[in-house]
Symmetry: C2
Subunit: 119 residues, 2 copies
Amino acid sequence: MTDEIETGLTLTPKFDANGLLTAVVTDAADGALLMVAHMNAEALAKSMESRTAVFYSRSRQRLWQKGESSGNVLHIVDMRIDCDQDAIWIIAEPQGPSCHTGARSCFYRRINKDGLEPV
Amino acid sequence: MTDEIETGLTLTPKFDANGLLTAVVTDAADGALLMVAHMNAEALAKSMESRTAVFYSRSRQRLWQKGESSGNVLHIVDMRIDCDQDAIWIIAEPQGPSCHTGARSCFYRRINKDGLEPV
């Protein structure tokens, strides 16, 4: 079973207890990590169908088309899945900033020994 | 409070119900996504201290020094945290393959409409 999940060519996502996968988004242009979010089965299906990123918002407990209010859609160039099929990598062309704060990436602070530092 | 978490320079990780953060690892050399794992507070502290990646294994329910058995340690070049402080980005110099399958990255399969395809 594990072998089939790890080496097989059938998509069999391993959703967690809440029915979610981790989704990691990088920029197709330069590989920068833009954001980390979650997908349920419907979000994954809609992302594959529309070729734009659709997530599941844990805080709002509903499907969330990235950019639905901001217009900052993520156009999907490539999608990959990891060895145990519980994480998705989306390589995207972002239409505008990916973070709701207006930053290009959600990862705008470095962790130092003494705290955080803007990058 | 949200503002302080998003814009502040104090490390205040938002652990989930299981006490975990999502950790994303990319290769410092070319930005390739290597793996996605989890960290509890102790794993985060040990990673910061040792400058090598330490995770929490959900399946084995214990701390897991990446490379402890394989020797494939991840040397940490840079660590970042996201806007809501529930995800960590580790930029690393990997000593060998990052995936337990022997692949350089855990993301060795593309998701297509018809299934998966090796990359």
